[in-house]
Symmetry: C3
């Protein structure tokens, strides 16, 4: 089993994602390739880091996750590859692995990162502007077909990390922020199940404040409330979210990344 996932901001209209698959199959014909997303907002490294983190660990061990969100393409920023716990990664060194590395710390997983500095594993001609095609896809394919990580580059210890916003304890709860708005308009915060702890046993008494509204009590799922009602609940990745039943909470609340998202515990 040889799986590669692709995550980029390339969009779907120009053929660039297909080109990377062509390059990969030229090197690793047996690769099965899954698209994670190609509509990350252009150059938005934090968004890609979140999607990568939420997705990678649902894949079989040793999947190679290639991420091409790369505002620094062609500059001195390093291309890197990594083994982080059970999963492998290939991407520019711009913070994309921040959340994955955070989890590795929590889980006590081994981490090995190399600077991809062996051009023999890249396409022969490397453009200044499309390293997804010329460096990352070929490197991912070589890794997937069995080339050891250490052969692809030189070990490094100083991969770039993003400064992620952390929820702050308040007198009677937590002050977090909106970190994602999904396709349905669900508004996700950085307040997680673990922040609630034993209070999760009193869900009906937790209060959520976001976008100028206050929602009293968490529910388990959408269908518990009538269409058009704002609800707060645990999202599928363990983050506290606000949703509008059969509608878009983001549109209703005019919510966006970075907005204040608070909870008051009983």
């Amino acid at each position: 089993m040889t799986i590669i996932s692709l995550l980029t901001d390339f969009g779907l209209k120009d053929g660039n994602v297909g080109v990377m698959k062509g390059v990969i199959w030229g090197i690793c014909p047996q690769a099965q390739i899954a698209d994670l997303s190609h509509t990350i907002r252009p150059q938005n490294v934090p968004e890609a880091a979140l999607i990568l983190f939420r997705s990678a660990f649902y894949f079989p061990d040793d999947t190679v996750h290639m991420t091409g969100v790369d505002p620094g393409v062609g500059t001195a920023r390093r291309p890197i590859a990594a083994q982080i716990g059970p999963q492998r990664f290939v991407c520019p060194d711009n913070g994309l692995l921040t959340r994955v590395l955070e989890r590795a710390g929590q889980e006590g997983w081994p981490v090995e990162i190399v600077h991809l500095d062996k051009p023999q594993y890249w396409l022969k001609e490397v453009s200044h502007v499309f390293h997804g095609r010329d460096i990352f896809a070929p490197s991912a394919a070589h890794l997937a077909r069995g080339v050891p990580l250490r052969d692809l580059g030189t070990p490094i210890q100083d991969a770039v990390k993003l400064a992620l916003p952390k929820p702050q304890r308040t007198e009677n709860g937590w002050r977090g922020e909106v970190i994602h708005v999904d396709h349905f308009g669900n508004v996700a915060s950085n307040i997680r199940m673990e922040h609630l702890g034993s209070e999760l046993g009193h869900k009906e008494r937790i209060v959520v404040r976001v976008g100028g509204v206050e929602i009293r009590g968490l529910v388990n799922t959408f269908g518990e409330r009538p269409e058009g009602e704002l609800i707060a609940l645990m999202g599928s990745t363990g983050n506290l979210i606000v949703s509008l039943v059969n509608g878009s909470a983001a549109a209703r609340l005019n919510a966006k990344i970075g907005d204040l998202f608070e909870i008051i515990l009983p």
Copy 2:
């Protein structure tokens, strides 16, 4: 050959479709996976039922079609799996199989449906809000790798069916309605080839009325008429459609699902 198709309203930006592929390959590494659509309008079960029906029977026998359009996720609605004629299906029990079951009735195909009630075939942790990942994808993967349908759940006879609008005979034709508007803006009705019967031999004399316009005569294809002309013709799935040559009939007519669509026979 082990094929799984995926049909959801999850959109393409958040990684959720990729996550389901990761889950599937963890259980059934040899699965070949095709996306049918992930841009069903949110929670729109009738639209998904139509796309599923139009698509499923073009796949090789024993393909497993997984559909995740699920406004009732996490509530008492049942997850189900089915063998319907040559194809297999995994989805919530909310009417998604209506059109497929209708065809089974017409064709005299055997139908077997089970309530997916064996958690050993799901992910270990099941969220309240993402059964596509936690129940449907793993169930589809187990089915694809050879687990018999009956092992996945308990047989049921009362799967939910949608009440679909049927064309009504009028004095001189049929009164139907718009049931789909496609990417090109073609406006499809529920009036089908079989409603026209022998009148198809007099295509030039059939009159179509929709969106306040009247189109006289059916053509075979777009290129028979000049750019910008409204035409009526048989669509690729046997439904009568109205198109604008090299343009969007839906935009021209301001047509939408449920609009009246009538024909007058010679």
Copy 3:
């Protein structure tokens, strides 16, 4: 290794791309299938011809590239298949191969094109409006599984070619035009690396004019200049492009296909 790529204007919402994959796997179960793009603007043959040209040669030899952008579907226009250098193609005969054939001429590659006129290699029922499903996908699958090109149809020498705009030499440079605007809003011209020749050694002295602005000097990549600055550079396929650092040059310049794009050489 059996690879098929798909390029269409079908969009992603209606299931039509998935249906073609089902048809392909019914004929060639081992095919690995990559999507190049399905959001070519409706009926836009020149755009599809460009994406096909930019993408095809990054795939392993003998990949079959199926293109379904087909304003003449169901009319007398011919379905064709071709071996052009190392790659294979299946599409309507409407100019889609123009750029690929141009490259074959430059490279001295052998070219063989057949009119697909053997219905035994198509689906049994052929609609007037969806030859992607009924003719092109099955033909591509048969080609991929090893049926010789000559068995699929009758050789032709007169494939349709588009009249593509060529850059014109001016007194002190080249007058070209905008031929593509990508997902990021990069504005690509038909002026290519080979038009600059030895002047590429004096990149800082080349001047680009497009959309009423003048950009002095080419850079290598985006990160060399501050966010929000317009830059000119070589794109990843060897065409001269204008970009806005971390933004959309097309939006800034209100640029569109066919706009004048000039360079002045030192």
